[in-house]
């Protein structure tokens, strides 16, 4: 029982990353009809926003006086952090410690800007082009973006720690009457789950309860009619692209303490998020979220020893098996609309 609860938690946590990425992808599909292979790269850039901010906080200059010698026996100069000089030791240390949550503020404008530039500068010219061309150009862009990151940050993962206060783990088991250590879960992963729930809720509320969102939803359903009504739907769709980029970016920022960001993490998530989107059903936002959590939970259960003993290697393929079963039983995924990307 405790093992099942634990894997449920795990699944929700994994699912929240999948759902966030898939949500952005679906927004782009649904509004612009574009297959965005660069979406994983946006997630990766989000994570590197967190890395960049902590790099900015650790900008330093060399101390005037040497202290000791380095590994070659030459005099060594300590690094002195600018933020500690400017804000004092305590405030500087606090800023450094909280750099990941602070990067959220840093990442939103950057990701929105990247989204706008991408849409206006590149994607706009591909609305009328075949999906194959969209795939080629966004895939090219994804490669370029990750190579640029690799050029500046190297190929190794870069550790990006959560604030000290959230580094431990929380013992759920005791709360529910199990033995100690039966169900423990890291604070940061719980925060990640809450954060993604907040973002997903926010996006849905925005689309549901604002006039802007209503127009966008109308545009998703029937772009031409909305255009005929004299509404500039393109402009709104551009903004939605920016929002989708920001959602992917925020998913990346908050993911940085869970796994150290590296330049190819976007590609690792790309295929998976496409599977999630399609299993959810093309063009359906609730479908994407539902599929994200469903696949996350199933993936977690498949990695249980009890399951692996019966079906060896099932955790390697569970996502794909589920995708095949769902697509064969439900022609348009869980909640897909007819006629979207079916040709």
């Amino acid at each position: 029982m405790d093992a099942i609860l634990l894997q449920l938690l795990n699944g929700l946590d994994k699912g929240s990353a999948y759902a966030l990425i898939a949500l952005g992808l679906t927004l782009i599909f649904g509004t612009l009809g574009v297959v965005n292979f660069a979406h994983g790269a946006l997630f990766m850039i989000g994570a590197f926003c967190a890395v960049t901010l902590s790099k900015i906080f650790t900008l330093s200059h060399k101390a005037a006086e040497p202290s000791g010698t380095d590994f070659l026996g030459n005099p060594k100069f300590e690094d002195v952090l600018y933020i500690k000089e400017w804000f004092g030791d305590a405030a500087g240390a606090w800023l450094l410690d909280w750099s990941v949550p602070l990067s959220i503020l840093f990442a939103i404008p950057i990701m929105l800007a990247i989204g706008f530039i991408m849409e206006r500068g590149l994607i706009k010219h591909f609305y009328k082009r075949p999906h194959a061309d969209q795939i080629l150009v966004t895939f090219g862009l994804a490669i370029v973006l990750q190579e640029v990151i690799k050029y500046f940050y190297g190929a190794n993962p870069i550790p990006t720690a959560a604030p000290e206060a959230f580094r431990g783990s929380f013992d759920f088991g005791v709360l529910l009457g199990f033995d100690p250590n039966a169900i423990i879960y890291p604070y940061w992963r719980l925060i990640y789950f809450a954060f993604s729930a907040l973002i997903i809720g926010g996006v849905f509320a925005f689309l549901q309860f604002t006039t802007f969102g209503m127009v966008v939803r109308a545009g998703m359903a029937d772009r031409e009619t909305v255009g005929l009504l004299g509404i500039n739907i393109d402009k709104r769709f551009t903004i939605m692209f920016g929002i989708a980029a920001a959602v992917a970016g925020l998913a990346g920022v908050m993911y940085a303490p869970i796994n150290s960001p590296n330049y190819h993490m976007g590609m690792d998530f790309l295929v998976l998020s496409f599977v999630v989107v399609v299993v959810g059903g093309m063009g359906s936002l609730p479908g994407a979220v539902l599929a994200g959590f469903l696949l996350g939970i199933l993936e977690s259960f498949a990695s249980m020893n009890e399951v692996k003993d019966i079906l060896p290697g099932i955790d390697q393929i569970i996502i794909y098996v589920v995708a095949i079963i769902i697509l064969l039983t439900r022609p348009r995924g869980l909640m897909g609309r007819k006629g979207v990307m079916e040709e």
Binding site: Q7, K14, A155, N156, N181, S260
Partner: protein, 454 residues
């Protein structure tokens, strides 16, 4: 459907234009023939350095490449000579190899067998490389080793840790300086016993592919021999990035030691996840919970940051060896000095093994007085040397594996900088990690005969 006809007509024109532009005179003459593949003819000799330059191991590949460049510099008599001055053999004179200036070509393995072989092929077929070295994973090493055997050039393996490289997949033209999974386990077991006692229960996570299995098998055999119990071994997918669902059940399993048979990105992520779940702070069975990472990569360890504090593992070499463990490891400081002065930071174990391999190859050629791969094989087989940083070392004839001391390290609690993440706990002497050529974990293959190629 008329458009396709038109398209095709356009194509013919494309082809015709291209054909006219590329037309060349075709007077041909007969080819020369030599005794072995890529025999150096002019006053230069070309070596091929095939390292990962894209993909997750790109930084490791970059460090290997630095070491190769340094080795070539030293062979050609430039720079401060590095380990040439401490190397026990004095056959190399700093005038290239047998008077021929050393040149090199580089390629990208992408850490994929196919790409690595394509890259090695181009070095052999196009650039005339007579030796291939480098690599950062066992799959690639085994694949390229097989290719070199067929093509008739020497392969000096870079970083490859699987037992198979000099076990079931060993080849006469291939040589490995790096240590292997069996040696890691044999070196770690006594140290683990000292540190954590002889009554421990192990839960292990193993990367689900050949290297992971040989590593797990080796560790289980070695730890069980000293009284530890293995209560579970879970295979994890190579593509996994989040190990939470594998880590989560560990605490409640009754185990008090977690062994992570992961390397590279897998290692960074699984270790980070394990620390996130607070395993390091827990007490199980009245003992502190411990994590062991049998194969340490200091470059990748940087990615795990503070999480490696207190975690034990093994290395082929460490740049602090000579300072801390004395004269036996001479060469270390000479190498660290020339590497550090050129690049500004200390070398990794990957760099050291690649540097040593290049020197060993050049030395073997110089001693054999021939570039013929069979002569080189003969010169390297059973060769005993010293002064390359690992202490006295033997290149065993039976399987082309180097036998030398293994370094057991532990992540520092308070590292001074990003290059000084580990402290040396102990050095396990070569005798303790030596095994017979026909050990069951290495059985199933044979070296065959050396192949000089054409």
């Amino acid at each position: 459907m008329s458009f396709s006809n038109l398209t095709r007509r356009g194509v013919i024109k494309t082809g015709a234009v291209a054909g006219a532009g590329l037309a060349l005179p075709t007077y041909l003459s007969a080819a020369a023939h030599s005794g072995f593949t890529n025999a150096p003819t002019g006053d230069t000799v070309t070596l091929g350095f095939n390292v990962p330059q894209s993909g997750p191991y790109a930084d490791e590949g970059a460090d290997e490449l630095r070491a190769f460049e340094l080795a070539v510099e030293h062979l050609n008599g430039q720079g401060d000579g590095g380990m040439l001055s401490t190397f026990s053999s004095k056959a190399l004179e700093g005038n290239g190899i047998m008077g021929k200036k050393v040149q090199f070509v580089t390629g990208d393995t992408q850490t994929k067998s196919d790409a690595a072989r394509a890259s090695a092929q181009s070095m052999i077929q196009k650039d005339g490389a007579i030796m291939i070295s480098g690599g950062s994973s066992s799959g690639v090493a085994v694949a390229v080793q097989g290719l070199c055997q067929e093509a008739g050039v020497i392969f000096m393996a870079g970083l490859t840790h699987s037992n198979d490289t000099t076990g079931k997949d060993k080849k006469a033209n291939g040589f490995r300086h790096f240590f292997n999974a069996y040696m890691s386990a044999a070196a770690l077991a006594p140290v683990l016993k000292n540190l954590y006692g002889d009554d421990r229960k192990v839960y292990s996570l193993t990367a689900d592919y050949t290297w992971g299995w040989t590593q797990q098998e080796s560790i289980q055999a070695a730890t069980e021999a000293m009284g530890w119990e293995t209560i579970n071994d879970v295979r994890t997918p190579l593509a996994a990035t989040d190990f939470s669902s594998y880590i989560a059940p560990v605490l409640n399993s009754g185990a008090d030691v977690l062994v992570l048979n992961h390397y590279g990105g897998n290692m960074v992520n699984s270790l980070t996840n394990a620390v996130q779940f607070g395993l390091r702070d827990k007490q199980v069975n009245g003992k502190n919970f411990e994590i062991v990472v049998p194969l340490y990569s200091e470059l990748m360890a940087r990615g795990a940051g503070k999480n490696i504090a207190g975690i034990v593992g093994s290395q082929n070499w460490d740049w602090k060896l000579e300072n801390e463990k004395g004269d036996r490891y001479k060469g270390t400081n000479a190498f660290v000095k020339s590497f550090g002065e050129k690049y500004g930071f200390p070398p990794s174990q990957a760099a050291q093994t690649c540097y040593a391999q290049t020197l060993l190859y050049a030395d073997a050629v110089a001693r054999a007085q021939s570039f013929n791969p069979c002569a080189v094989v003969e010169a390297l087989e059973g060769y005993e040397f010293d002064g390359l940083g690992n202490g006295p070392t033997l290149y065993r004839a039976g399987d082309h594996q180097c036998f030398k001391d293994v370094v057991v390290v532990r992540g520092k609690e308070n590292p001074e900088n990003e290059f000084d993440l580990v402290e040396i706990v102990e050095v396990t002497p070569a005798e303790q990690v030596t095994y017979p050529v026909d050990h069951p974990m290495f059985a199933g293959g044979e070296l065959g005969d050396c192949n000089p190629g054409a």
